[in-house]
């Protein structure tokens, strides 16, 4: 128990949290953008609305159509709070507002509830509770102006990063088990999902270029990666190969499955922020920044 607590609490570079704070709301806003610009068709009676289905499991909550002014206000507030969170401006408040509003619109309209919008409230709420505005944002800049001699935050409590790391691995693992319980061990699945409106030009070119057997190899690689994710990310010597395979998988999904690109970006962002080797992460953030002089604790 003590070892677990020590692992959970081990301080983590603030850059991991800052990267999540910037990338997650932007990926979520990217996904929502096509809805936000059509807030009237999305949330008001001028678009198609599902009737009240009286407790049907596919309609978790019935929310009647909103008046147009409210729909546009919510859309504007989602955009503003998401951008504010990404910029690290009023970080905690912006994150909480963003999470609550996205949760509301996800519940209010089942037709626009996708994996990204279902994940968004919890992930951004985690950012709101975490010290994600401690550095690399407007809040941090204002604090620095107020107190130039205050120490620079370089590491934060490990809990929030551990949450994102465990979330990601649990997500891969559950997805892998769901695939294994489905058709992935019995028949070719990947190929069959590349023939509808999600098909991009890249997908079509890749399908033409790759021989049939290679789809079995790709399917095996994806399944091995996802099923074994708890092991691959727990062991130090498999963590980097797992990072590369995971990023490759998300890149393929983003390039080949049309609108699924925002989900791919969201997951790839968490993967990079959580598992990029620390020297690389710090180099990316601090390459242009003059290192502050050492300060006494």
């Amino acid at each position: 128990m003590n070892r677990l607590r020590a692992w959970l609490d081990a301080p983590q570079p603030v850059e991991r949290l800052a990267l999540l704070r910037v990338l997650l709301p932007l990926a979520i806003l990217g996904f929502l953008s096509s809805r936000l610009v059509h807030a009237d068709a999305w949330l008001t009676a001028s678009g198609f609305r599902l009737p009240d289905l009286g407790g049907d499991w596919r309609q978790p909550l019935y929310v009647p159509a909103l008046p147009a002014w409210l729909a546009w206000t919510i859309a504007a507030a989602i955009a503003a709070s998401g951008l504010s969170l990404a910029a690290g401006f009023a970080t905690g408040t912006a994150g909480a507002i963003f999470a609550l509003l996205v949760a509301f619109v996800t519940l209010a309209d089942r037709l626009e509830a996708f994996t990204v919008s279902k994940l968004a409230p919890v992930l951004t709420l985690a950012l709101a509770f975490a010290p994600s505005g401690a550095r690399y944002g407007v809040d941090a800049w204002r604090r620095r102006r107020r107190a130039p001699d205050a120490p620079v935050v370089t590491r934060v409590a490990g809990g929030p990063i551990r949450f994102f790391q465990i979330f990601l691995v649990a997500m891969y693992s559950a997805t892998g088990i769901a695939k294994a319980r489905g058709d992935w061990l019995k028949t070719q699945v990947l190929w069959t999902h590349l023939h509808d409106e999600y098909q991009t030009r890249v997908a079509w070119l890749v399908m033409r270029a790759l021989p049939g057997w290679s789809w079995w190899a790709l399917q095996g690689l994806v399944l091995t990666f996802e099923l074994g994710a708890p092991l691959w990310f727990a062991l130090r010597w498999t963590r980097r190969p797992a990072l590369v395979v995971g990023l490759g998988m998300h890149a393929m999904i983003g390039l080949m499955f049309g609108p699924v690109v925002w989900f791919a970006i969201l997951m790839a962002s968490i993967l990079i922020a959580c598992f990029l080797p620390e020297p690389l992460l710090l180099r990316a953030f601090r390459s242009r920044e003059r290192a502050p002089a050492p300060r006494a604790a």
């Binding site: 959970l8 081990a10 301080p11 983590q12 570079p13 068709a41 198609f48 599902l50 289905l53 049907d56 596919r58 978790p60 970080t91 519940l107 994996t115 279902k118 994940l119 409230p121 985690a126 509770f129 975490a130 010290p131 401690a134 941090a140 604090r143 120490p151 620079v152 370089t154 590491r155 409590a157 490990g158 809990g159 949450f163 979330f167 649990a170 997500m171 693992s173 559950a174 997805t175 088990i177 769901a178 695939k179 319980r181 489905g182 058709d183 699945v189 590349l194 023939h195 509808d196 409106e197 098909q199 399908m207 033409r208 049939g212 057997w213 609108p259 620390e278 020297p279 710090l282 604790a297």
Partner: protein, 201 residues
């Protein structure tokens, strides 16, 4: 994960420079985070008993990890045909102008409504009402009295033989091997009533 650059001061537990969170709040947030991840994982691995524990709205937020578990036997296209009052016959209705959000792909509200609720008469009737009134508002000179809502099952080519790139075709251009399933048709009475209402305007 190794240590930070030595010339940067470590300040574990600080929140935006503020003191660390109170222990009870920290425990609460940690507990909620752990419960969320456990529920998400259990849902993905098929623990259906979880459905009895979580209320519907909460359950939706953990139903996120079953991603493409099964093969698609066919590619499904959701379409509509409309009864033209002036021509007294059904013609294909392009629904995309009435569903501006991601109108060209499976994330369109029309495709989503058909995918989730094609066996649910109440939703199909609502879709009928919406399509009819939206079309008649936009095209008063080509009024419709009702719709047929259908799916096309387009066969997926054999592994390694991708065929031509996917494109949207008119219903009539699909080969006879593409099966058509009609899920909803407006009743004749309602169709006539709507057409007569239009004729009186």
């Amino acid at each position: 994960m190794r240590g930070a650059a030595p010339n940067h001061r470590a300040s574990p537990g600080s929140r935006s420079g503020a003191p660390p969170a109170r222990p009870w709040r920290r425990r609460l947030v940690t507990g909620l985070g752990a419960l969320y991840i456990i529920a998400l994982w259990l849902d993905g691995v098929g623990a259906r008993w979880l459905d009895n524990l979580l209320p519907l709205p909460a359950r939706m937020f953990v139903q996120v990890s079953e991603l493409f578990p099964n093969a698609s036997p066919d590619s499904i296209e959701w379409r509509a045909r409309a009864w033209r009052c002036d021509l007294a016959r059904y013609e294909e209705l392009d629904v995309r102008p009435f569903f501006p959000i991601r109108s060209d792909d499976k994330e369109s509200r029309f495709d989503r409504a058909m995918f989730f609720y094609h066996r649910q008469g109440k939703v199909m009737a609502a879709l009928d009402d919406y399509l009819t009134s939206a079309n008649n508002r936009l095209h008063p000179d080509a009024r419709i009295g009702g719709v047929m809502l259908l799916s096309l099952r387009v066969p997926i080519p054999p592994l390694g033989e991708p065929g031509p790139r996917h494109e949207r075709l008119p219903i009539a251009d699909y080969a006879p091997t593409v099966s058509r399933n009609y899920w909803y048709t407006t009743g004749v009475d309602a169709r006539q009533r709507r057409c007569e209402e239009g004729a009186g305007q």
